[in-house]
């Protein structure tokens, strides 16, 4: 009899605690957990375990730390930067069984949730009190609040209502050494909530979250405007914002998307429409007509060819379908698409979109744009059909080039999808070595073992100035 591999022994102990069906180790089933929502970054985990509560997570993490086995949390796996992939021969903690809404408090307007609760389920649970959870990633029917916290996720409505970090009030964290600590809840001291939100699961695993709920707006009106150029639509966006109007959402779809929507679903848009702008206003009834009139006037002044307003849920759903089905439509006109997530100052939109077109043209690629225009958060989708390495490389390089342009125009590499593995090495285009070294120090402070979701967010060399010096000294 051969002695069992230490990892096997570890997994046996997990099976003893959680039940055999809660530990997946056969290669066939592990494939499901190899990647996330991005088509580019797969890595097969050595095992997947399904904890049921904070104590389970703490026990697993502590055992991993003792055995020096890397681990990574996983929600729904819809992330778009390879964040939930297990690198370095690690295991995955799939949190889908921790999906209870623990409490909804209509007076304090909060919900307390396990991390595997789906984003949409929060608003569903809050609905009976007339409340909702504001951050609404387009993946909200599947993605989890744990993933949302890890990525500081946004959505179409974050223009007015803010992103995840603006709504997280407290959380329970299993630290990378297995200790459990409660963070936030209005306690004094450093704002660890801000540090942990958006840290992409590299500083610990979140096992409970308390979020703020908002009151459902009394009224919501959605406008769909067609423009004959993306420049005109961009100018209109800037004009609305500059006028002091803060719509709940301001989303743009370009000609490529319009064409795809027509072809895939038979959507009808005015002839000559090269760009669509979706503007949603919400709030109390008093003053709403005034606001809508102002928005409509601005859109017309900036060349809107047509303007359609939806005043009830059915009409509104129809308009939003165009936005929500955009990715589906692209999927029908190309076998693959690769979405980027750059951000630029809003006033640079026309310039940036021109640069995106240039990059695509030079590389012989097609790019479609559907994005959060009000925030200056672009989602250029590079469309491609073949699977060969040369095409993939071309696509990846085009993505990197587009992000370089975003940085050049004063923006950032990512507005909501996170750095993950994908943009890890590109972080040095945005940040100087000292900037990254400070972040690396924070990471070392909170995860000295380096086992918690390793090789994500920071370039592999970050903070190495100090480390490599130590290494050299040790080698002498």
């Amino acid at each position: 009899m051969t002695p069992r591999d230490p990892l096997d022994r570890l997994l046996d102990s997990f099976a003893a605690r959680l039940g055999a069906e809660a530990v997946v180790r056969d290669a066939g089933r592990l494939h499901v957990y190899a990647g996330d929502g991005s088509p580019m970054h797969d890595a097969l985990p050595r095992a997947v375990v399904f904890p049921r509560d904070t104590a389970d997570v703490a026990a697993i993490v502590r055992a991993c730390a003792d055995a020096r086995v890397p681990f990574v949390a996983r929600g729904a796996g819809t992330g778009l930067s390879g964040g939930a992939t297990a690198l370095d021969g690690g295991i995955v903690l799939a949190l889908n069984r921790m999906d209870r809404v623990l409490a909804v408090d209509p007076v304090d307007r909060t919900a307390t949730l396990e991390p595997g609760v789906r984003n949409l389920a929060v608003s569903e649970a809050a609905a009976e009190h007339g409340l909702f959870y504001a951050p609404d990633p387009s993946s909200q029917a599947v993605c989890t609040v744990g993933g949302n916290v890890a990525h500081n996720s946004g959505g179409p409505h974050t223009l007015k209502h803010g992103v995840t970090v603006n709504h997280v009030l407290g959380l329970t964290l299993v630290q990378p050494d297995g200790h459990v600590v409660r963070v936030g809840d209005g306690a004094c001291g450093y704002d660890l909530l801000a540090l942990l939100t958006g840290s992409e699961g590299t500083l610990g695993i979140v096992t409970e979250v308390t979020v703020r709920l908002l009151r459902r707006p009394e009224t919501v009106v959605t406008l769909l405007a067609a423009f004959d150029s993306i420049e005109a639509a961009s100018e209109a966006t800037s004009a609305v914002i500059a006028a002091g109007i803060v719509p709940a959402a301001l989303e743009m779809l370009d000609a490529e998307v319009v064409t795809a929507l027509r072809a895939a679903f038979g959507f009808e848009f005015p002839g000559g429409a090269q760009a669509l702008l979706l503007v949603e206003c919400d709030g109390v009834l008093p003053g709403m007509d005034e606001e809508l009139a102002d928005v409509s006037t601005l859109l017309r002044e900036h060349g809107a060819l047509s303007l359609r307003a939806a005043h009830d849920d059915a009409e509104r759903a129809e308009i939003w379908t165009a936005r929500k089905k955009a990715f589906g439509a692209l999927g029908r006109i190309a076998r693959h698409y690769y979405t980027q997530d750059g951000v630029i100052p809003r006033t640079r939109l026309p310039e940036m979109l021109r640069r995106v077109r240039e990059v695509a043209a030079r590389r012989g690629l097609r790019v479609a744009n559907v994005f959060h225009a009000g925030d200056g958060n672009l989602h250029p989708c590079i469309l491609f059909d073949s699977d060969d390495d040369k095409t993939k490389r071309n696509v990846l390089e085009a993505g990197a080039e587009i992000l370089r342009h975003c940085v050049e125009l004063g923006g950032s590499l990512t507005g909501e999808h996170g750095v993950g593995v994908e943009k890890r090495e590109w972080m040095s285009t945005l940040y100087a070595p000292d900037d990254l070294a400070v972040m690396a120090r924070l990471r070392d402070a909170l995860d000295p073992s380096g086992l918690c979701n390793p090789k994500k967010v920071l370039p592999l060399g970050a903070g190495c100035g100090e480390l490599s010096a130590l290494g050299r000294r040790a080698a002498l």
Binding site: V183, D191, G287
Partner: protein, 494 residues
């Protein structure tokens, strides 16, 4: 060597929990606290460039000196007295605008830029700071480091929600940036937000990018007076539950100018901003709600008339201080020197320094009860509170001073010794200490400003450290490994 080692030697997960003078092993001895006179005489460094600032910090890091980051010194120093101090490091001379593109509704400025100068810059573009648009004292850096909650927090959040990026000098003199000037950005860890409310202990803010907001076309502030705090708070709750989108719902309990010497009067304040139709339509709805609450008096301020009051509310606790001082016989000169502000020499008229400002953070549900308990304790200690509550946020700021009005005969609280004996500073300190050292003190209560004698022990200033205190210690050591920056000023001696 580092005087701050919050991890100490105790078992993982434990933290000093006593709110009293007994610090335990975890908290460093503070017997060599710099006294007020020495604080005043400390040298003041005022670097003119970020690199020069970093040079000062690097040097201090190298020789184990401690620096006290400061802005303009217009606000009383926050937190506990520093455990060590060798010089003030002011960002006063770093007051430039780095980047302003009005169309982006964002601005990047140096940390020493005064808030009033910033507002001058934004006004022609009909824009304002999204968080705390009315505050006029202090600098951008001070706003960030103090993490104060402004008047419009209910609607627009605090500076935390509007800080987009920062350039910071950490404790070893490394100048680093994180995030940037775009409104959405998840590239890397959020160091800027970590600095909000850090009281200068994690880094010196050198530059900040902030989100701006359009100035509203119209505004209206409804002021309703109630006979007691309970009714004012209940009315606030009704407003929060109504189909309204107020920019501010506060209950302010301060003296009534028309009745000098009378006890503080609770007033409900509700602000609407926006286009004329939005403001007036909501006012109509509001008044229907308020009529049911039967206020004693009703007032309406419009547009520019709202500003003086909003400035006070935005500048809490200082604003509260000013409001209260407005009724003091001889308002003391504003102390704008960072080397003396908040460290008044003994012997000054008691109105200036027999003052304790507290912040209470609870939830909307638990605030009224917690506030009532604190007010009762205040009265029992022979003190009186002027306070500002934000019922929608579950927070309150209290300015506590010796009682200045006669205790009504009906008051259940027994007349304290303070009412009979000549009032001395020591009487005040003893009364305030009773209040702060009460057993079972909640972790949501902290001292915003107090006489130095009450600020020596961080446990007294912040109460028992929060559950995540150990993690905070790890963050402090990562960003300020030798405790150069404001050592010991923050919770649990961080």
């Amino acid at each position: 060597m580092s005087a701050v080692d919050p991890r100490g030697t105790s078992a993982h997960g434990s933290a000093p929990s006593s709110a009293h003078a007994h610090a335990g092993d975890d908290v460093p001895a503070r017997d060599a606290l710099p006294d007020a006179a020495r604080m005043r005489s400390l040298p003041r460094l005022e670097p003119r460039t970020p690199d020069a600032l970093a040079g000062h910090v690097r040097a201090a890091h190298a020789d184990g000196r401690a620096l006290l980051p400061a802005g303009l010194g217009t606000r009383a120093p926050r937190g506990a007295l520093p455990a060590r101090a060798d010089a003030w490091l002011s960002t006063r001379a770093l007051d430039g605008v780095v980047h302003y593109e009005p169309g982006d509704l964002t601005i990047s400025v140096q940390a020493g830029l005064p808030l009033d100068a910033l507002d001058e810059l934004l006004r022609p573009h009909r824009q304002r700071l999204a968080a705390q648009p009315f505050a006029r004292t202090g600098s951008v850096g001070g706003l960030v480091a103090s993490g104060a909650e402004g008047a419009l927090a209910l609607r627009h959040g605090t500076v935390r929600d509007t800080l987009l990026g920062a350039r910071t000098c950490h404790g070893d003199g490394v100048l680093a940036r994180s995030k940037g000037r775009v409104v959405k950005n998840v590239a890397g860890y959020d160091v800027p937000r970590l600095l909000v409310g850090s009281l200068g202990t994690l880094g010196v803010l050198v530059e900040a990018s902030l989100r701006l907001a359009p100035r509203p076309a119209r505004s209206a502030l409804r002021v309703a007076t109630y006979p007691d705090a309970t009714r004012a708070l209940a009315a606030a709750r009704a407003v929060l539950d109504a189909a309204l989108e107020p920019a501010l719902v506060d209950v302010l309990c301060a003296a009534d100018d028309a009745r000098p010497g009378a006890p503080p009067v609770p007033r409900l304040l509700v602000l609407f901003e926006g286009g004329a139709a939005r403001v007036d339509g909501q006012l109509e709805r509001l008044d229907a709600v308020l009529r049911a609450s039967r206020p004693d008096a009703f007032e309406l301020l419009r547009d520019d008339e709202t500003l003086p009051l909003l400035r006070h509310l935005d500048d809490a606790p200082r604003g509260l201080d000013d409001l209260a001082r407005a009724r003091d016989a001889a308002p003391p000169e504003a102390d704008t020197n960072p080397t003396t502000a908040g460290s008044h020499a003994p012997g000054v008229a008691h109105a200036a320094h027999d003052v304790l400002v507290l912040r209470l953070q609870r939830t909307p549900r638990t605030l009224p009860e917690a506030l009532a308990a604190l007010r009762d304790a205040t009265a029992a200690a022979g003190l009186e509170a002027t306070w500002l509550a934000r019922p929608g946020l579950g927070s309150a700021t209290l300015r506590i001073a010796p009682r200045t009005h006669a205790v009504p005969a009906t008051n259940a609280v027994p007349a304290s010794r303070a009412a009979r004996d000549p009032y001395t500073h020591a009487t005040f300190l003893a009364a305030a200490a009773t209040l702060l050292d009460a057993p079972g003190r909640h972790s949501g209560l902290q001292v915003l400003s107090a006489p130095d004698a009450l600020r020596a022990d961080p446990l007294r200033v912040f109460g028992p450290p929060p559950p995540a205190w150990r993690l905070m210690g790890a963050v402090k050591r990562a960003l300020d490994p030798r405790a150069v920056l404001a050592p010991g000023v923050h919770v649990g001696g961080l």
